[in-house]
Symmetry: C2
């Protein structure tokens, strides 16, 4: 069985905040109070991580360049926001009808390179993705271990749109302490036949369940998911969410 | 809180089986026994539905045409399987390195038009997607209501690969009794700012959590997900999974 419950009572995050300590405090203050279990996965919306890491920009400090001004004019956007998006992008994949689909410096393909203006206090503040979300996930895991004695799985998430389907799903952009991918290729199914091409994006599915558990209009960036035990790694951090990025050479849809 | 628990004890499905009755029986025989609640979502891997609906093909009955034979030769595939894939396809979107990405007659874009040879008894039997998965979901919901007095949400799923990301996630291909999409556009976030472009594919996230709860090598096609109450519709079946299909005219990645 899988369970997912959001943590209530987290404050608005500020640069330098000890997010792991805030999570531990909020868990202890919960009703009922609880502690982390080594079979738990702590799933965190990246905005909480980004804010604690100071990965925000004030648009009043941004001077848009020529490309940003041109794209903003073509797509009815704030040229300062477009400049931040371009700064966060390795490649602009598509720019159509007001939508900028970007490949981030990490290799993620998403709208606006993950730069987001919602859920951010201050009209002109935007939040970027963490610089190295796998590193952020590892730091959070180690700090949780320091504070609680327990090293849970950690998944940092963002909401990405998808090709071909309407709506966003949360996906993993940073992972520590669990296998992001479960590879069943070559293993027999229950009928004894070889399962073909079954590679499961476990970390993305953990991100999805956390988003489902969270109220979008409440401040619940952290969700504890329990029951995903077989995906957890006890002794190391694992390869991180970067293994979820498809090799551009094998990608049919760029 | 969201919980997801797989139902044990379902038999291998046969054409004509009353899947809803089998689910009710398996729930009652569970440890502990349980009944359906109107806030439950019954998430079902499509293979169980397809088998009960007789949506299988014996490859020995298939005579591959010229395109199927050519594609099979180019991509090292069984020409009979390729013929079934073509029969299930509206459009072949990509054929590269052994991968056939198809648009199905329903409008879903996925590998092999959803035709699958794993978890099927009999070497030469393949399973197709249900002809009308939304209709299948509605029938299951109505039959569950007949049998139990309770009309839960119903989601029929398949595992789809994604552009840009490694690994499959389960998604909804048939939906009844719940809103597949939650649209937050224009609603204020917790800071009172308007949330922009936040349209959440709830049904796909329900599919993902069910897959996470399921053991891939056990026969657990049915998972009960509880706690997604605000997405549920009491009195009607809702628009179905077809609203999750992006209008081709608005799709940037074909």
């Amino acid at each position: 069985m899988i369970t997912a419950h959001p943590i209530a009572g987290l404050p608005e995050l500020q640069p330098g905040d000890d997010l792991a300590a805030l999570v531990e405090t909020a868990l202890a203050a919960g009703d009922p109070p609880r502690t982390l279990d080594p079979t738990d996965v702590v799933v965190i919306a990246h905005k909480a991580v980004s804010k604690a890491e100071g990965r925000t920009a004030n648009l009043n400090d941004v001077i848009p360049g020529e490309l940003a001004r041109q794209l903003a004019a073509d797509h009815d956007k704030d040229p300062r926001l477009v400049q931040v998006v371009l700064d966060e992008s390795h490649t602009l994949i598509r720019a159509v009808r007001g939508v900028l689909i970007c490949e981030t410096h990490h290799g993620f393909i998403c709208a606006n390179a993950g730069v987001d203006a919602s859920n951010v206090p201050g009209e002109d503040t935007v939040v970027m993705l963490p610089t190295d979300p796998d590193h952020s996930a590892r730091l959070l895991r180690h700090r949780l271990k320091e504070l609680t004695g327990v090293a849970p799985g950690v998944v940092i998430t963002d909401s990405f749109g998808r090709a071909w389907r309407v709506g966003q799903c949360d996906v993993a952009i940073g992972v520590a302490g669990l296998r992001p991918i479960e590879d069943w290729r070559g293993r027999p199914d229950y009928d004894g036949r070889e399962m073909r091409a079954t590679v499961i994006a476990v970390a993305d599915q953990l991100a999805a369940v956390a988003d489902l558990a969270r109220a979008k209009d409440a401040m619940q960036p952290v969700v504890i998911v329990s029951g995903a035990g077989r995906h957890l790694l006890a002794d190391d951090d694992g390869p991180g969410a970067r293994v979820l990025i498809r090799d551009p050479a094998e990608d049919l849809f760029r």
